[in-house]
Symmetry: C2
Subunit: 470 residues, 2 copies
């Protein structure tokens, strides 16, 4: 990429300082302009105003356009279409656009991308297309991309950039600066350089500010620091992200099993990983899988069925508990009216505790040193809030049905269920974590099963017992 | 900070390459060693093995220790205790430790910190202590910190670092490098330098790699790029984080209302913001406030009451709907047994849709361009899954109670409630967002209220009507 092209990348489209409205969606008038230009096949306008957008702006624009506009735009821009924008859109839209391009076009465009962006696009293609595209790339690039693609999905090796700056330890700062001034093959952006031996074994790294602050004659090995936070290429990206977060890294060396430098992982990719993983936790807690907004209704409906099915089974469990007490309900209809309250309050309290626990496990804030204390705390919270809401609910129920004894029974059931909710909310995720299962996925089924069953059983059971002896 | 001290910061404690076990908690044997050293008042060991830990490792160690060990450790380390570690621990632990230190000690220690870390610690103190500490600091530092503290909480101004490298546009690359080699007052770590006019008005910025690749005689203004993504100091940190994410920034200039450079926001702080905000969304969906693991049981219980109270009110609403049909339930107890199933399935389906919607709104993936499509999609999902589970539940209910008509009634109620869940799950957060309320906080109350009420009303109402005419 030339200097001028790089400059242009960094400035907004001329005349349109900001393509976004205040709340972050693409501006309607900009969208209308682009739509008209597409309809008029006004390639000049599109090259000037659209091709020069930042990749993420172009991505947002693609998502805002209608499907047929999207494809027409890519077609009209031709070689001026920046494929990097595809790393910024929904998977469904990415595949839709990639399907429209010939393998030769993709191969030509992929040559200009950073290797991590290229891998991002290639990994979604089917095997045949991917091999066809790789075959059309120059040798070194092919080898590089194939190596990254060989690492497991969601590993650091997949997300790394294979371009990096590496120098031998005996070079001076002056030699290093001269090398950087003259070499054209450097990555577009970097914040540290790596120090390697002739076999590419990683010796250390130097941040750019260290180099700028050192005198020209200083040797690199004297200012480098040994890389204590290098990342194994097959490490899971989430684990790598945690190392970045813990040590406030901007970039880190990625090494293979022989400790040889194979790439560099940068913070911008890690930020994406952090956002994705947090999203995943939220979605898993609600039983939603890896769906995207652009998925169709049918595939979305299908992906949500398993979770609903599991919940149907647990709902039958609690229904059969109610079935045990049908005689009592027949005698006192108020039980049927009140029983969902006990279950629902327990469900909410359990979800609160569970959410805190699942997140604390995910961020590693909860461990063996504080687990016992947190379990005690949650039990205390359950007891306290149980008593508070037992009194509230008891009084209301007593007045509603003019039956103080019923108030006492529902209050007692409330305390029991709030305790069950607290203990279930913390012990279920802890246990799942101990069993190496993902607490985010399975916890809420078990927790609501506990609070529903305990809620109905405690209330109906207590009522049956109490009113049978009084 | 001297060069040697900086080197030590970057290497692990000698002899203990990694203080963590594989699943990320502090190693038991290391903890035992530290505990013994604290008991023996072995200051030498603590200085060698503990004081040199990375700030985040020291933070994790503090969290793993018992409260009395924690305070003894801080006391024993004295001036060797790195106050930065306090930015890595729970708020309750931070306050507990800060309370133990005299204002003079804090003032002395804060002088060594980056301004963003200093602000992080100062902002939690009460007004009087904060003023007392500020009064003991040198003039420029006091002014700097006070300025940052004057910006609203959670603003970019609070999170920025006031130390930065700035040069005039007419300097050459050579002059700039020489300045960086000779000046001792530079920030500890930086990735770009800023270009300003004599009044500190921001003109642009240059990444360090650009400087390293340019020849010495090149003028800064020729390689700088105009800063298009500068951040207003009073911008909310979440908004600033979104700009970082969108444009893959490593650092960005923070400017005051006159566009004058006042500080720099760096990606490591932004990563913390991103994690916090995602956490906040998860917690809000479950009705858990800003609690921390180190909070006491009483304060945790109290903070969870409002949410449970709101849920109690909605539970009464659905209970009174059941109350409307007590005569029907008395005639057919099966209704009481089956009714929670319809409500619970609707609740789960509604939560799925709502979670997807809330996250899509938070990440700005959902906007006016695709809202109509997503509403249609969710309605389709609700209808499809409604039919699937209507058939399943209908068959089971019909066999369970030997009553095919009851199966038909519950199936019809299921379809109605799944549609209500889908529409509620998407329209409630969209509406709240439109009204400028946070969809994460309030959505789930409304959605479960809808699914409970519609579920009970549809099932009991249909049953009453159907069995009254047959």
């Amino acid at each position: 990429m030339t200097e001028t092209a790089k400059e242009a990348d960094r400035s907004p489209a001329p005349g349109l300082e900001d393509i976004y409205t205040e709340d972050g969606s693409v501006r309607q008038d900009f969208l209308a302009l682009v739509g008209a230009a597409i309809a008029d096949r006004d390639v000049l306008f599109l090259r000037q105003k659209v091709a020069k957008l930042h990749e993420s702006e172009l991505g947002d624009l693609l998502e805002a356009l209608l499907p047929e506009q999207r494809l027409a735009l890519v077609h009209l821009l031709g070689d001026d279409f920046d494929l990097t924008a595809l790393t910024e859109v929904d998977e469904a839209i990415r595949l839709e656009i990639v399907d429209q391009l010939s393998n030769a076009q993709i191969a030509a465009a992929i040559g200009d991308l950073d290797s991590d962006d290229a891998v991002y696009i290639l990994e979604d293609l089917d095997h045949e297309d991917r091999e066809d595209i790789l075959a059309q790339l120059p040798f070194t690039e092919r080898v590089r991309l194939r190596r990254a693609l060989d690492y497991p999905e969601s590993s650091a090796g997949r997300r790394m950039q294979s371009e990096f700056v590496a120098v031998p330890p005996f070079w001076t700062v002056g030699q290093t600066i001269d090398y950087m001034r003259e070499d054209d093959g450097l990555p577009e952006r970097f914040t540290q350089i790596f120090v390697i031996d002739p076999t590419f074994k990683l010796l250390g790294s130097v941040d750019l500010d260290r180099i700028l602050r050192a005198k020209r004659q200083v040797r690199i090995e004297d200012i480098m620091h040994e890389t204590t936070h290098s990342i194994a290429a097959d490490m899971d990206q989430e684990e790598a992200a945690q190392i970045f977060e813990q040590y406030d890294l901007l970039s880190a060396a990625v090494v293979d099993e022989n400790d040889r430098l194979v790439g560099v992982l940068t913070i911008d990719d890690v930020v994406d990983v952090i956002t994705e993983e947090a999203d995943e936790d939220i979605r898993r807690l609600a039983g939603v899988g890896d769906e995207e907004l652009s998925d169709s209704a049918v595939s979305t409906a299908r992906s949500r069925v398993p979770w609903l099915l599991v919940n149907l089974v647990t709902a039958f469990c609690s229904a059969s508990i109610i079935g045990l007490f049908d005689a009592s309900i027949e005698k006192m209809i108020a039980l049927a009216v009140l029983m969902p309250i006990v279950a629902s309050m327990g469900g909410n309290a359990g979800t609160q505790t569970m959410t805190v626990t699942v997140r604390a496990l995910a961020t590693k804030d909860l461990d063996i040193y504080n687990a016992a204390r947190i379990v005690r705390r949650e039990a205390g919270v359950g007891l306290m809030n149980g008593v508070v809401f037992a009194i509230l609910l008891g009084i209301v129920a007593a007045f509603w049905f003019g039956n103080p004894q019923l108030g006492g029974v529902i209050g007692a059931a409330m305390i029991i269920n709030m305790m069950a909710a607290a203990l279930g909310g913390i012990l279920v995720p802890l246990l799942l974590d101990k069993l190496k299962a993902d607490p985010a996925i399975a916890s809420s089924v078990f927790v609501t099963m506990i609070t529903d069953c305990v809620g109905f059983f405690a209330f109906l059971g207590l009522a049956t017992w109490w009113f049978s002896i009084h």
